[in-house]
């Protein structure tokens, strides 16, 4: 164990721990932007600067490992001023377009700018209109909003093992771009980790503001991974899918189907009425008509040909409770073991 002091508090942590993690362990919050729990420290934003007694320059807490006996200060007028300058410099590029940004209301940058009471853009630079070269049509990249924290590219490389996107250019013209377009799986890991509104999803015109949206945690309907996701609901319509960092087997990740495959739920082609076929054509019917007809037919066939002349197929799409009821229905009500589903397909 390594012993150190942070803001007067004595802390003992394992060797190799960063100052940021030691501080969090001790319950001391240091502001961060580029740091993300699931990623190796990036060290690009410099929000997490701290002072170490005996060193003339502040160090970034996210990527500086603890050493025995150091005395760390996480908050001082000098550090506050540095962080404030850092934020002001980020705003050189980042427009204060929060009212029209999908991320407004749950944006780390917005929160920090508010916390540090920065009231406007202090430094100005010439803006250029740049073409976005993002590798997927499902994600919108806003170059001006991008603060070059590199979380997206790091996540693409470290979490997905893909490296489809990376930084390109220099100075004000730096942007995130597709360096390996073919590798992009449109999974949206980059959106999930982006601390600003530089990456937004392209599905759906009007999404509702984050504080107006109801997020319902549920289990994905696609493969057997069983990812935990939140369906975002606004006025009884699905406006998106989000995840919570660290929750479920997916720990906040999703694939393209989980994140963007929700449109079918509100498809115009969904069945909304029971249908009965007469003379080769379907006609809408009431539930009572449809169910009574099915019950009569099943009763009739059972009476004349026996229960085994009826077979049921349950569904790997449906819930446990529904599969249980379906086999109960076939076994207890119809009276046959002719019940199966597509486990084999």
């Amino acid at each position: 164990m390594v012993n150190l002091t942070i803001d007067g508090k004595e802390v003992a942590v394992k060797e190799g721990t960063t100052i940021l993690k030691a501080a969090r362990f001790a319950g001391i919050e240091i502001p961060t932007l580029c740091y993300h729990e699931r990623l190796n420290p990036i060290g690009s934003c410099r929000m997490c600067v701290v002072e170490i007694e005996g060193l003339s320059h502040p160090m970034t807490a996210c990527n500086t490992p603890v050493t025995e006996g150091i005395i760390v200060t996480t908050d001082s007028p000098r550090l506050q001023k540095m962080r404030m300058e850092t934020l002001k410099l980020l705003l050189v590029k980042h427009p204060l377009d929060c009212p029209v940004c999908d991320k407004g209301g749950e944006c780390t940058l917005q929160n920090l700018v508010h916390e540090f009471e920065i009231e406007g853009t202090v430094y100005l630079a010439e803006r250029e209109d740049r073409e976005s070269l993002y590798p997927t049509p499902l994600i919108h990249y806003w170059p001006d909003r991008c603060i070059m924290c590199l979380r997206c590219a790091t996540a693409c490389r470290e979490i997905k093992g893909l490296g489809a996107i990376d930084i390109d250019g220099s100075g004000f013209n730096t942007s995130i771009t597709a360096v390996n377009r073919d590798k992009c799986e449109s999974c949206g890991e980059c959106i999930q980790v982006c601390p600003t509104g530089a990456l937004t999803e392209n599905l759906g015109e009007y999404k509702g503001r984050p504080w107006m949206v109801n997020r319902v945690m549920t289990t994905c309907t696609y493969c057997g991974c069983g990812c935990q996701l939140e369906i975002n609901v606004f006025n009884n319509r699905i406006v998106g899918v989000t995840t919570k960092d660290g929750i479920g087997v997916n720990k906040g990740s999703l694939c393209v189907k989980g994140r963007f495959g929700y449109e079918f739920i509100e498809s115009e082609e969904r069945l909304s009425k029971p249908l009965i076929k007469k003379d080769g054509k379907f006609h809408e019917a009431s539930w009572d008509e449809a169910l009574s007809l099915v019950a009569e037919k099943f009763k009739g066939i059972k009476a004349s040909h026996g229960a085994d002349a009826i077979a049921g197929i349950a569904s790997a799409r449906c819930t446990n409770e529904e599969n249980y009821l379906m086999q109960k229905f076939m076994r207890a009500v119809i009276g046959t073991n002719n019940i199966d589903h597509c486990a084999r397909l």
Partner: protein, 540 residues
């Protein structure tokens, strides 16, 4: 599932997926995980990139995981028993097998040893096309790693020898003492969100919930008492494939199909179509008017996962909550409501106030779910078996002992697939999924997002074959088997081997299952989707 149940006494994934982060070596076979189980694939990549695990991929297609592998073996499709026996042969010859573990925890080793004696690398190479040196390398890598895990999916099971393939993988895992240990195990990745749950809850012709046999009198009586009925059937019912054949023969007169689309998903679609037409009465309950629903006499509109409460059980056996996010559309209703209402009209009352009350009944008759309540899984799911409310659930199976007592080795010989290429049908067809779509496309082809990325079917053909056929990427070809033909657009790719064509089965306008063969594994009754013979010709 039948394969693992024979070997261990339970057919589910033995270890949680996150366990691969503790594996020294990971063998992935017949599983294109990056496209079919993308989140599980993340774990495999993380194990390789961050934890230094060695990845062995055994797959006829050059799938994306090959980029992360230390070793890639490319067997000819349908030769799995041969190469697995080859690995067993080398591991035994090199004395890398776990002798103590085999002695204490397993049976049947001597028979296995005798059986794999002839599967030397040269013999295996003749059958599978895998170079001897590569096979030896893979055997040494898996055999020396402590622990090593195995992942497989439909590329292993969708063969007439599917059960044999799985038993062979179980042999391999047990041989090296890798079952019942952290970071080890043998893990079938489930293709659909709730296949595990549908099996667990008794949607199978031979078992009630938790795999309790319908033929066992004591168990039958338990269900008769709970359900309040006089006499349940004690003979095993029909599987899906058998139901359709019975319909054609006139033995099955009516079918009730909930949330499935066999007219696209089952092999030899022309045959299924004929079977369905032979029915006197067909009820289909679904969220869309599927290809199957078109043939129904009555269609009942169900709802999607976003409109209902309940639970799904994932591939790791974890029972997790499903929560209603929006109200059902139109007059559509939850499938559990529909079943209860139908049951009432048949004279049997099912009274449940909510899905959680159904779970309360499930718990009383299902030992492995006995401890699972909605309250307990509110925040995080629980992996079964969970026999009581004070039980934390079971992430790793077979820890102290196998579910069946001792692990059973099976001595298995290689058998050829049902239909191999010949002069008339010189190509081998293999089917599967792509990342952007899912099963019969009922859900994924409805929105614009996923279809922007993958709008139409692309059949993969090897560059050398493309030269022979005189085609370029984007050209159309006719793919014909003995059962029918379809027209498909091609993409020239290194992914399939020479002589192999890969066709995804999501597309109703070119249904790959018109071509596939209705040859099934005799035990698991799984069709051989991964191998059949076809002819490929340029269109125009």
């Amino acid at each position: 599932m039948a394969g693992l149940a024979t070997a261990f006494g339970s057919g589910a994934m033995t270890n949680p997926i996150a366990d691969v982060l503790k594996s020294e070596a990971i063998l992935v076979t017949g599983s294109n995980a990056t496209e079919n189980h993308p989140i599980f694939a993340n774990y495999i990549k993380e194990a390789v990139l961050k934890k230094g695990a060695k990845l062995i991929v055994v797959d006829p297609r050059k799938i994306d995981l090959v980029d992360y592998a230390s070793i890639w073996l490319r067997p000819k499709p349908g030769t799995d028993v041969a190469w697995i026996n080859g690995l067993l042969h080398v591991i035994i010859k090199e004395n890398l097998h776990a002798s103590e573990y085999i002695k204490e925890r397993t049976e049947g080793f001597e028979e296995l040893k005798a059986c794999v004696e002839k599967y030397n690398p040269e013999y295996v190479s003749e059958i599978s096309g895998i170079a001897s040196s590569d096979l030896i390398n893979a055997a040494l890598t898996y055999g020396k790693a402590k622990p090593a895990s195995i992942m497989y999916a439909m590329g292993i099971t969708q063969h007439i020898t599917g059960t044999d393939n799985v038993k062979s993988l179980a042999n391999l895992a047990m041989l090296c003492g890798n079952v019942g240990v952290e970071g080890g195990g043998i893990n079938p990745l489930r293709g659909q969100n709730n296949v595990q749950g549908a099996c667990d809850l008794g949607a199978l012709p031979n078992v009630f919930t938790a795999y309790q046999p319908v033929t066992n009198n004591e168990i039958k009586q338990k269900f008769e008492k709970t359900w309040g009925v006089d006499s349940l059937q004690s003979t095993v019912g029909l599987t899906v494939t058998e139901m359709f054949n019975a319909a054609e023969e006139g033995k099955v007169k009516a079918m009730y199909i909930m949330g499935e689309n066999p007219l696209l998903s089952d092999p030899d679609v022309h045959h299924i179509e004929h079977c369905v037409k032979s029915l006197e009465f067909l009820v289909v309950q679904d969220i869309f008017l599927t290809e199957t629903a078109e043939y129904a006499d009555v269609v009942l509109p169900g709802v999607s996962f976003a409109e209902k409460d309940g639970t799904f059980t994932n591939s790791e056996r974890r029972v997790q909550r499903v929560r209603r996010a929006i109200q059902p559309r139109g007059d559509a209703r939850e499938d559990h409501w529909i079943i209860c209402e139908l049951s009432k009209r048949m004279g049997y009352h099912m009274n449940y106030g909510s899905p959680s009350e159904i779970m309360e009944e499930i718990r009383t008759v299902t030992p492995s779910y006995a401890g699972i309540t909605y309250e307990r899984i509110e925040k995080e799911g629980i992996p079964w078996p969970c026999p009581g409310e004070d039980h934390p659930g079971t992430p790793i199976l077979h820890l102290e002992r196998f579910a069946r007592g001792k692990g059973l080795f099976s001595a298995i010989d290689y058998k050829k697939p049902a239909e191999l290429p010949d002069k008339e049908y010189p190509f081998l067809l293999t089917t599967g999924r792509v990342l952007e779509h899912y099963h019969t496309g009922t859900m994924t082809r409805k929105g614009k997002g996923l279809n922007m990325l993958y709008p139409e079917l692309l059949a993969e053909i090897n560059p050398e074959d493309a030269v022979g056929l005189g085609i370029e990427s984007g050209d159309f070809v006719t793919v014909a088997s003995r059962r029918g033909d379809i027209k498909v657009k091609t993409i020239i790719s290194e992914r399939p081997d020479r002589g192999v064509i890969f066709v995804p089965f999501h597309f109703k306008e070119s249904p790959a299952n018109i071509l596939t063969i209705n040859a099934i594994d005799p035990i698991a009754k799984i069709p051989e989707y991964k191998v059949c013979a076809v002819r490929v010709e340029k269109v125009g």
